[in-house]
Symmetry: D2
Subunit: 252 residues, 4 copies
């Protein structure tokens, strides 16, 4: 029987601003990527997300990003690798304290946005993030794109790696995510998302924008929480997976 | 024989900006109040300060402050207590991760600037900081002004409390620090600072601006690192204390 | 015939975050308080708000605030008055450039949140904001609470002053706004808001929380855009005013 | 007789942090690149720099940068061009208000750090900055590297362009600046800087790292204020130029 983790981003507001319905999302997923304050996520939002995750038995993931509130961490920033390591360590420690305060702990690490994209191939930044996780806790699993430089380096360094797929993002024929700024990059039809996620889970494949069928060996699937109808989308994905006999469980 | 801790602020730069000669200061003091990123202190500066402190056997203190880089944490901010607790927890966790990465750990907590001043009497904010420390590590000593509401609440909550005095700050007749914006608030003559610190250590008293002699039972003395000639001042204080038979040792 | 300005806050998002339906609000009001980047309002959001305001013939107001994105400018910050003057000038200039770029110009100044509240009585900060407006453009009208220190100082300095009332905020018996953190501070029933705003416009009075009837001579009325159902509320206020024969027109 | 502008960066501190001795630098140069708050430069520092510039008859330049205080604007940030235009407009407006308040005005625009480097070749960002200047004031001269895409686009758009050279930076054989992180990138020997600047002014050439002699037709020369001994370096450059019969005068 196939076992899959369903992860989504939460705590992506800042101060008075909210982005998604975290409370609802955390009743659907098995892993919560919690923003750590650099691209989003004020300390109180982080605590609330940790608390809700703990209550629902959802694994807490550190969603570390570039220091860029104005850009929501979605713009490449050419940070020096040594500084990036420290930036990531800082975020891991901060989230860890808030998770501990509510009886939880960080279960995994997933870089966010442009950092996630960059370390697919940026050697220096990929090494920097690996180094931060190693220094923080070398037993911590990390999420990433199958085939990414980041996941390869993490594996070489002995970190448990979890390849993931995206239920609601279009793929280019060479297996990367279609950049967000392009039309059709984010899928919002629950039926489409549901059928894609089932195909991912049961056949290990996803269809690219040009119809190419890409093999994707994912242990986790990401759904986004900030798209219109996100909660409905996540529920549709979950229901379809359960209906297809997939067991939803965190890898933590 | 009198035992005294000598603490000073370090890692008070941000990015390209530096404030004090941390490397020199850390050869003089026994406790390093390390900024945690909210009023100053980028992650790499924090790591460097932790590393230097570890090398010199200096205790690592979490110098937590208001989120106010533009004001260097020296302006009162009317933060909601629940949010303040989370802000402090966030900073404690962040510093903890960087300290651990270099083989150190947080040895104590000292609030910074306007937060330090506010919790001398602001009930809600004082309770908020106590709550953060309790949630992070209830065995962690906290520094504060003798007689402050903050230290009283911390003691009631079971936290080890360390009363401190200021070697280079003028005192008002009622035992508070003369606000920084007033003339004469910060003392910069090494001979004056040296004689004050010896009197503090050996007689337990300090002279206020009007000549009043105030009893001050301090287990730690603070010297500032960002005043002109700060390192010389710290060295003068240390030499005078050693000459007076005082043993300089952290309480950690 | 009574003439009234109806003002509301817009551009109160930041980066990816949005707070209100600005496009809809700007079809209802006659004055747009545009956030200037310190408590909210990234440059692109400011431009969009200016552009929409220009298209609808809505006056552009500079909604200047404390530098506090995390607190949305709703927390008192003890800024030095000289620095506050420069902070406000900076915001005025920034908004002015974006307004000019779309063919508009700043028509008035309204301080935001905790700054608005503080300068009701805080002499130093009130003088600081007056000084900033004088230095920027001494012909610019300023909005404020009738009876506030801010409005009195502005009038003494020769600035045109516009007293305003709040359609959707509860008043204390002494004529101030009930603080937001207290229950009942923000009114959300369109019928209640509509009847209050008509009474304000036609009888020049508002009922306080204890039933006291307060005289309020307002030339402008504020409705908030970030409350649930805000656009409906604003429309209800507008319709009721028009129905009562009030002419809605900016003072600019 | 050769006429040259000598420009340097000022107001590059933030809050409590200072970077250079602005007061001394502004007695030496003819153009002041004033940071506008995104990479450095709080409003009060900007005002002080404007005031000092006005007093010494130094032209005020808008030193616009990426929104990146932590990285001092020295890290490439992949900002969307439309947002970059608004970010630059915002900074221009802010500086303009502070300059006006002290009787000055913006005389030219010079992008800072990584933005300056990026728009040497990044088409989208170069166009974005040109667009911002055009929208702000199409008569405003802009500074840049001769041969840069930025200067070419600015010229095509009708903006007055001022090619500049760097007195204290090493050049690569292809005429670009050696990146700061490389050894030898920043020159600190006053004699070397003096002789280079004279050769630039009189022969219109500079020697690259490999000895190649590069033709550089510069109307302005930049000296940095944040290197050790910066004021001495600026004075040496000025004295050498005057000694060589060069007339130091702004192009504004």
């Amino acid at each position: 029987m196939t076992v899959l983790d369903l992860n989504c981003d939460v705590a992506e507001g800042f101060g008075t601003w909210r982005l998604a319905d975290d409370d609802a999302l955390l009743t659907v997923v098995t892993g919560a990527n919690i923003a750590c304050g650099f691209h989003a996520g004020d300390p109180s939002a982080m605590r609330r997300a940790c608390l809700t995750a703990v209550r629902h038995g959802v694994a807490i993931g550190a969603h570390v990003g570039y220091r860029d509130l104005a850009g929501f961490g979605r713009r490449f920033l050419d940070v020096d690798p040594a500084e990036l390591t420290d930036d990531v360590l800082y975020q891991l420690g901060a989230l860890s304290a808030l998770a501990s305060a509510v009886g939880g702990r960080i279960g995994y690490v997933k870089p966010h946005g442009a950092l996630y994209a960059a370390i697919g191939s940026h050697e220096g930044q990929a090494r920097a993030v690996v180094s931060a996780v190693l220094q923080f806790d070398p037993s911590l699993p990390v999420l990433g794109m199958p085939g990414s430089r980041w996941l390869a380096l993490a594996a070489s360094a002995g970190l448990p790696t979890v390849p993931e797929a995206f239920a609601d993002r279009a793929y280019t024929p060479d297996g990367r995510l279609l950049p967000r700024r392009l039309p059709g990059a984010v899928l919002t039809d629950p039926a489409v998302v549901a059928s894609r996620v089932v195909r991912l889970a049961t056949a290990g494949e996803v269809e690219a924008t040009d119809g190419t069928v890409l093999p994707v060996a994912a242990r986790s699937v990401c759904v986004h929480g900030d798209t219109p109808g996100a909660v409905g989308l996540a529920r549709a994905a979950r229901a379809a997976l359960v209906g297809a006999g997939v067991s939803l469980r965190s890898f933590v």
